[in-house]
């Protein structure tokens, strides 16, 4: 059976079946959020890294992710106006644009991507994992919503290891702070077996996600692990981890990927299926969302497929073996948070990128450095240098922003990428001349 590609109007983005399915899931979720009040459901806002979705589900809370809302605003070209709104209200031009997009969106009525108002959260689940900005972001939201704010700290994995002190601290917070407060807000008693059940489902979906990510080892890669990867991680990084929907989605996606492997096909991009795979790349850093399609096209036009990326690890490093574990429910939630990409030390990040370059037989590294994200960006120039040194492969440094359109200079990015591809070519011909000599 040939994989199914849905034909679209020429200007519409072309999507494969899994992407459409994912879109549907997200749309349903946004409707659930918009209908939450009417349906008597309570809402918890939280973050992607350190997302405790299974736990929130134990309290019948609906998960709202301001980061994802900001991404949606970016994709819909609304974030620019939101950011300006926040800056007019006194937020600095220097800080994370996710925060400002969120705050601007709030000021303008909090209309979600479905065109309907998103509900005010009943609780802010401040899972402080891998990014300092989170702490201040939810302090800012708390000022606005005046609702219960639950703080949960993930220590930083600075020495490349998880210590018993870290786990004990996190489990204690869960037991003595997070769970009792969630019980209070939701009025639902905590049931450990319910959590175990959700964690079991998470692990199933995680197995399939890893299979999909690792499929990029094939030549040609059947997936794009950055631009396409963003679709793939959506459900599991968001409100679906631990649900049957997620299990089903990843099963479906896995089949789709298998079909592409069998047919020797590359990924589907918004501008059509990938042609010949000329370059295999690893990408570090988040993408730009305001010009997402244009950005992807710059790779597509050159025959460049991303075979691994660090961004697809911000919500969990499953390909490094981590699985949510029903046998150790709270410990495994703690380990999950500890292991996310932005909570890993710089040397660990370097190791991961070097591993990816080897494992996925990449031609080089692209760093997309985000102007307003210190968590990712501080240290990336050293990361680049180290990865180049250790792999002998060339790297390129691009600077954009996540959702601030003012910082996406298409001409600059394109120029950089074009010269970069030439550099890879030169390296290749140098290598083949060397081999022939």
């Amino acid at each position: 059976m040939k994989p199914q590609t849905i034909k679209a109007q020429p200007k519409d983005a072309i999507k494969d079946a899994s992407m459409l399915k994912q879109k549907e899931m997200m749309a349903k979720h946004y409707d659930r959020l918009s209908d939450a009040r009417e349906n008597g459901e309570k809402v918890a806002s939280t973050f992607v890294p350190g997302n405790l979705n299974e736990l929130l589900m134990c309290f019948d809370l609906v998960n709202n992710l301001p980061e994802v809302n900001a991404i949606q605003s970016g994709l819909r070209k609304q974030s620019g106006a939101y950011i300006m709104e926040a800056e007019r209200a006194g937020h600095s031009e220097d800080v994370c644009t996710y925060v400002k997009s969120d705050i601007g969106m709030m000021a303008k009525g909090n209309i979600g991507p479905n065109g309907r108002k998103l509900p005010d959260p009943d609780v802010l689940m401040l899972s402080y994992t891998g990014c300092f900005t989170f702490m201040k972001w939810f302090e800012l939201l708390r000022e606005q919503y005046k609702c219960e704010t639950i703080f949960f700290q993930t220590p930083y994995m600075a020495d490349g290891k998880i210590t018993p002190n870290m786990i004990q601290y996190m489990v204690r917070q869960l037991k003595e702070e997070v769970i009792p407060k969630l019980e209070k807000v939701s009025g639902v008693k905590f049931d450990l077996d319910r959590l175990r059940e959700y964690l079991g489902k998470s692990a199933k979906a995680e197995d399939d996600l890893v299979y999909i990510l690792k499929s990029a080892k094939h030549k040609p890669s059947p997936i794009d692990a950055y631009f396409g990867g963003i679709y793939y991680i959506g459900p599991i990084f968001g409100a679906f981890r631990g649900t049957d929907d997620a299990v089903e989605y990843y099963r479906f996606l896995r089949k789709e990927v298998d079909q592409r492997i069998a047919a020797g096909l590359g990924p589907v991009t918004p501008d059509g299926p990938m042609g010949e795979e000329k370059y295999r790349l690893v990408v570090e850093g988040p993408p730009n969302y305001t010009h997402f399609r244009q950005f992807w096209k710059m790779f597509h036009d050159e025959g460049a497929t991303v075979v691994a990326s660090s961004y697809t690890k911000v919500g969990g490093t499953y390909d490094y073996g981590f699985r949510h574990d029903p046998a150790r429910p709270l410990e495994s939630l703690a380990e999950y948070c500890l292991g996310v990409y932005t909570n890993r030390s710089l040397p660990m990040r370097i190791d991961m990128l070097v591993d990816h370059m080897d494992e996925y037989q990449a031609d080089g590294l692209v760093i997309n450095s985000i102007k307003s994200c210190n968590s990712f960006s501080a240290g990336q120039l050293l990361i680049m240098r180290e990865v180049e040194k250790r792999t002998g492969k060339p790297a390129v440094f691009i600077e954009t922003d996540l959702v601030d359109p003012r910082y996406f200079s298409a001409a600059n990015v394109k120029n950089r990428l074009e010269s970069y591809f030439q550099m890879i070519e030169q390296k290749r011909s140098g290598a083949s001349r060397g081999a022939a000599a």
Binding site: N165, M166, P347
Partner: protein
Amino acid sequence: MTTPSTSEIVARCKALYEDLNFTTAREWKAAEAGRKVIGFMPIYIPREIIHAAGMLPLGILGGGDNLEVIHGDAYYQSYICRIPRSTIELGISGRLDFVDGMLFPSICDVIRNLSGMWKTLFPEVYSKYFDVPQTYRDEIGGTFYIGEMTAFMHDLEELSGRKITADDLRHSIDVYNKNRRLVRDLYALRAQKPWQAPASEAYLVIRAGMVLPVEEHSELLEHYIAAAGAEDRPIKDNCRVIVTGMFCEQPPLNLIKSLELSGCYVVDDDFMLVSRWLIGDVPLEGDPIHNLAQAFLHHSESTAAKYEPDREEKGQFLVRAVRRTGAEGVIFASPSFCDPALLDRPMQQNVLAAADIPYIAFKYAENSGQMQPIREQAGTFVDSIKLWSAA
């Protein structure tokens, strides 16, 4: 021995401040075989533990406006603050080659990531990201913090080859209690009579504590407080202001002077919070590590780099500082691209607005040269406060 004059003390402190080779710390180390120096960055480190290990805690606050950054810029994009690049410069240029360990406290993601960069760039030097709890319950955050401090203590024991006893720690706590009392005395003097102990002097005197052994610094503080209190200095028609946001990347000294020249008496600030992070004396009886943890959890300064668990309390520390010092306004001076200072600022400003306290805000970099705009802005602020209070 005669007590030195304020100008002599300030001149000495200025020389220490300008010495980017850290000569005094080098000399301290060279004076006895086996001595070790542990560098630390803002915002807070329990220096007592380093002291108890017989080592010198050395505050590294970037390169200021005197350091030519040659290598550092290659490590950072233009949209990241200055302090990490000048600190890298200090490292790469060999100015920290005598330092046996570097500590990167939990303050923001830039210093957090710098901890890993240091490990990569200087693998032979002990370096540690010093994590602290942002939750303040004894059995949760407290237990975690005790665990972190104990691990750190063991690291230092390994580095020095000797055990740190409870009595060593008690002695060090005692020594630092004294130092903190003196720092607070200096702040109290400045709040009462800012013309006697101007901010530009007080800054240098406190800053000397980043490089001097604590005992020596306490002596210096005593001398300065005595000399400054006794001197007859003219009172100016200045406005009393608090500056906030300068807890990490340091302002150029000229910036503080410019504020004074524009008519401000800086009566409180958040420079070098490490020297007064813990409020009040840390008890000497009982388990010293437990006592340090208790002080951290329940008796420590508030700042933008911390989480405030109580919504009602958010920013109140600033209002209280205004009331305590009789300040007439607040100046938010933040390093460009500084997440903690800039993300927190709108919340603090809302609190001030609700309390009817005037404020202004500007940004700086440690190497800012142009002071004219800041002078003008501060001057206008002072004028408006005066007009407002006359009305």
